[in-house]
């Protein structure tokens, strides 16, 4: 989930912080110190996160576009200049534009707003923005809530008491609320100093930038992994299941499915699954175990050399063109597969399905997926030539079952013409003729459209009179028989107007 760091560089940030006996700091210095700490943490523990840095005062500027290069970010921090007053609305609009341009509107983002809590005065101040936000036209809407899902973290280089003296806290809370409520306000506890600011950023790190570690299990095989980005808890139904569901730290493989069977399923999020080395004795089983260590190789070299289940799994998934179905929690599943970034690079990827027992209709219930070996007959065929997937729904959809719709006149005309076309080719087309006739009869009865039955009966009688001399004698018999049956049905007499009753061809001497 990309991060935008929005740094307040208004003049108020240069306010000095009184520290007894030591060097004098500005609030800006403290903020930069905290951000440096955040970037250092990300560089070592969360380095796949894309982060961008924006500075704002009355104007805003994108200092560093989204990058994983944390040195560049830190460098940009050290070159911040001081500008005029705070105008948050314009900056938030800027964030909205920058994020959408880069990631579109579906990708969840985190915005880290670093400010001193002086949110401007008069026009352009946050207070003013919030007061007027309800009375605006479509073109000047307040940028929050963002079109993309967003977590807004507000880090104030000020303590809560200070913010509560003005209406700053209220305004920030309101801002958080209209952002969608996903986020938090952090304030400095105690007096302003390096330590307290560090503590505040530490809380943010714990809260939003701690790595998600899990264990991937496949029976007795397992591997410690980091799942990136962190899988977020999901609320399935606010009303019935208001408690968010979180992905378990034990990811259990249930079994395997071919890519063509799982067939581009919809997923809510995607994550990289990166094997990690946890300090543990390296497992060495069976032959080839070497006990002597002549030189002490570096930890990462060691980790690279000791077999890891993720690498094995990834390799086989890639070669076989399969995915592993993995259980993420109660009634919650996902899939693991090999995702190639380029020809050379590929990775183990986790896609998370909608929580629930049937995220993919064509697989049936996930809990009903079982080992092929237990089926009485191999569902894939002995030579692997067939597949039990996709699972067929019990009822066909309208487009798969030749349904009759006469909303448009053309629909009705086509059906009548079909009957007449076949009527002219009797007795060759007897079967089709009656099939079409019965289809029309059924629909006309259901719609209470008895007039149509009479009309078609008249048409058939007319066709009868128009038969050429060369026509087969059976044709005349069938036409008048069909016309008569339709007329009987149009009376509504239950004996002839039953929905499931079909007009059957008249048995003539010719037809035998």
């Amino acid at each position: 989930m990309p991060t935008v760091v929005l740094m307040d560089v208004s003049l108020s940030m240069t306010r000095p912080v009184s520290l007894d006996g030591s060097e004098e700091f500005q609030r800006k210095n403290l903020a930069v110190h905290g951000l440096n700490m955040l970037f250092e943490h990300m560089a070592s523990n969360y380095r796949l996160e894309f982060t961008s840095l924006m500075a704002f005062s009355s104007l805003w500027e994108l200092l560093v576009p989204f990058t994983r290069d944390y040195n560049t970010l830190q460098e940009a921090l050290s070159n911040l200049e001081d500008y005029d007053k705070t105008c948050l609305e314009a900056a938030l609009q800027g964030v909205s534009n920058v994020v959408q341009q880069e990631w579109g509107s579906a990708c969840p983002c985190q915005v880290v707003l670093v400010t001193d809590g002086s949110l401007g005065i008069g026009k352009g101040s946050l207070r003013h923005s919030l007061q007027t936000q309800k009375h605006r036209g479509e073109d000047k809407k307040f940028p929050l809530p963002f079109p993309f899902p967003c977590k807004l973290f507000i880090l104030c280089v000020a303590n809560a008491e200070e913010l509560q003296m003005s209406d700053a806290m209220d305004n920030l809370e309101e801002l958080l609320r209209i952002s969608g409520g996903e986020g938090q306000i952090f304030t400095v506890e105690g007096s302003l100093c390096m330590k307290s600011v560090q503590a505040m950023f530490g809380k943010l790190i714990d809260h939003a930038y701690s790595a998600f570690h899990a264990v991937l299990h496949c029976g007795n095989l397992s591997s410690d992994v980091q799942v990136f980005p962190r899988p977020e808890p999901v609320v399935v139904d606010e009303e019935v299941e208001p408690i968010p569901r979180a992905v378990s730290t034990d990811l259990e493989i249930v079994g395997f499915i071919e890519i063509s069977d799982i067939s581009s399923p919809p997923v809510i999020t995607r994550h990289l699954v990166l094997p990690i080395a946890v300090n543990k004795d390296v497992d060495e089983v069976g032959a080839g175990a070497t006990d002597e260590l002549e030189e002490e190789p570096s930890a990462s070299q060691m980790a690279g050399k000791s077999p890891n289940f993720c690498v094995l799994l990834h390799g086989s998934l890639k070669v076989e063109g399969m995915v592993a179905v993995v259980q993420l929690g109660p009634e919650w599943f996902g899939m693991l597969y090999s995702q190639a970034d380029s020809k050379k690079k590929s990775n183990l990827m986790l896609s998370v399905f909608d929580p629930g027992l049937q995220p993919l209709p064509w697989l049936g219930k996930m809990s009903h997926l079982g080992p092929t070996s237990e089926a009485t007959e191999n569902p894939f065929g002995e030579d692997d030539s067939k597949s039990p997937f996709p699972v067929q729904p019990p009822v066909k959809r309208s487009y798969a079952q030749n349904i009759t719709v006469w909303i448009k006149a053309s629909g009705l005309q086509t059906d009548v013409q079909k009957i007449l076309r076949n009527a002219r080719k009797l007795p060759d087309k007897t079967q089709t003729f009656y099939k079409e006739l019965n289809r029309l009869r059924k629909a006309a009865l259901a719609f209470g459209f008895w007039e149509l039955l009479k009309g078609v009966a008249d048409l058939l009688e007319r066709e009868c009179t128009l038969l050429p001399d060369s026509a087969h004698p059976d044709a005349a018999f069938q036409l008048s028989h069909a016309a008569q049956q339709l007329k009987l049905a149009s009376t509504g007499d239950p004996q002839f107007a039953g929905y499931d009753h079909n007009i059957i061809p008249m048995h003539t001497d010719f037809s035998s």
Partner: protein, 711 residues
Amino acid sequence: MDPFILQLCKPKMFSVSHKTVFVVDHCPYMAESSRQQVECDVLTKSRGQGLIPLAPVSKSLWTCAVECSMEYCRILYDIYPKDKLVNYIVSDSEFHTLNSWRQEEQSIHGLMSALAAVGPPNPREDPECCSILHGLVAAVESLCKITELQHERRTTLMDMADRVANRGRIICLTNAKSDTHVRMLEDYIQETILDQNKLAAGSDRLMAIQQCDLVLVHIYPQGEDTLVSDRPKKEVSPLLTSEVHSVRAGRHLATKLNILVQQHFDLASTTITNIPMKEEQHANTSANYDVELLHHRDAHLEFFKSGDLHMAGTSTRENGLKETITLKWCTPRTNSVELYYCTGAYRISPTDVNSRPSSCLTNFLLNGRSVLLEQPRKSGSKVISHMLSSHGGEIFLHVLNSNRSILEDPPSISEGCGGRVTDYRITDFGEFMRENRLAPFTESSLDPSGKPPAERAKAQLERHTRYWPMIISQTTILNMQAVVPLANLIVKESLSEEDVLTCQKTIYNLVDMERKNDPLPISTVGSRGKGPKRDEQYRTMWNELETLVKTHAADTDRHQRVLDCIVACRSKPAEDEDRKKRGRKREDREDRTDKSGGKDAEDKSWQDSERLKGLLDKDEQESEVIKDSPDSPEPLNKKPRLSTEEVQPPERAKGPVSLLSMWTNRITAANSRKHQEFAGRVNSVNNKFELYQQLKEENGMDVHENGKASR
């Protein structure tokens, strides 16, 4: 708890759209003609001469109401085959309920059949006895009835059952007399709700209505002025909202209900454009067609959010009420083994289901082909934003991600942990995956023990991975073709007698290999020089085999017998094994004598001397075992070990085995062997004794490659 929670854009499970009651007026005035005429006698020029075309037919108000409501249901059932329910009620001098909330009664076919039984209204019936009110009262009563889903949820939630809400919608298709009449109907419904809610409070099978939306559609014939005015949704009471649509019968009514079904079920419309289709008349020319599809509006979420609607080619039709987004057909690709990054898949329903372009498109998709759809952009750049694909006879509109990925350019897996290991058993694990492939099980074929198939799948994975070395150089037995039959069988939950026999055969075969001193596919990676000696290799092999089988020995008696067989074969003087084998051979009448026949005489003499030695050991229990048929369990074999001391770790009794216990097992197994001394070891020099010395001399360099080629 983390406050950041991914909100899925889903409506509440029990919103008003869970239950829809159609109340259709069946009173005499509905038999009136809609006055919209349909020409069904379309005469072609060639035949038309001199014929008087048949008078056009016209639908009654009833026919219009029924076919439009059926169309509403058709779209609804296509897009929501479950959990969005319709109850259809017809009202005249009494009410007729055509179906119930039950899932199996939710079908167009069932409703059509019931409608046919009702038939058109009888124009001669006394209008005074007939009223829509009968149906409306029945509708409210029906909304109080609990659905299967509500029942199921209430049962699972137990004490939080009140979270399950009861809301619903009544769509009333009628011909009202005036605005006052409409108000009277609303008041009547409001009162009925209050009455029914009181009743529901005292019943288990009923639920009080929390919210009811009344959608009243007044239908009047073409060419007449309406007596009822349109009115947007308003709140009659906290329980009831009401809206009135005054619509002319015929296509206006159809359009209205199409709009309503979209509003009621959060649908949106997409028009697929540029579909190439062969002309009916001229088969070698093709023209481009458009087909309109309905689906859940989330398929357009990205467009709505980014305000890209206009760019995406929105066209507004019919006085701005209906909007559709245009997506362009891209020539289909046949590659179905690609996994697209798909953020949503939504069922579709064609608006004009049996038109030729629609049925061509749907049939094309139902035949298993997928079509990528392109979002037209002003800039002219090509963005594939959606895909149409069918799964099991259902067509889905897949939303494909067209934005930059936040996971781009990740470190390759080869750069991470275990990335530099090169001899993973990739092919073997591929086979393992195929063995553990999942298949759907039906409700009826479920295991009576109650363990769901997915749990059984996990149990199978557990059994198959009790001993599964990840790299080639970590294993000997799993690189040996000769071990395959045993390795495949031992992981099974239960073994048949035949399976046990096969395993034993495999073991004897290994004994045979050892006797012939066949080379083993032992990896020399990591060891210097020539690697371990052959007898050392066999010891490793036997150890490994024992480890594998030991992890399963506790499962059943038959598994234990396989282990016993290994222990017996490897821990006894060579002669015992041989004898036993020959005994078995006789039983099975397997004609393998010609192979070893030539050696028999010499073998015997050698054996005899060895046997003497064995007898001298006075291990009577062991000699009993020797006489035992391998087909019967060998409980005696266990005895000496059990009686010796605490050699059996308790872990053995349970399924999965930790590395530690595997190791201790191995050590104890090694130790336990000591109490009954290996004949060779007695004569060993420096604790080493070359086995089958005489065989080596005899066979010379007769070596077979018994193992798989190592990779």
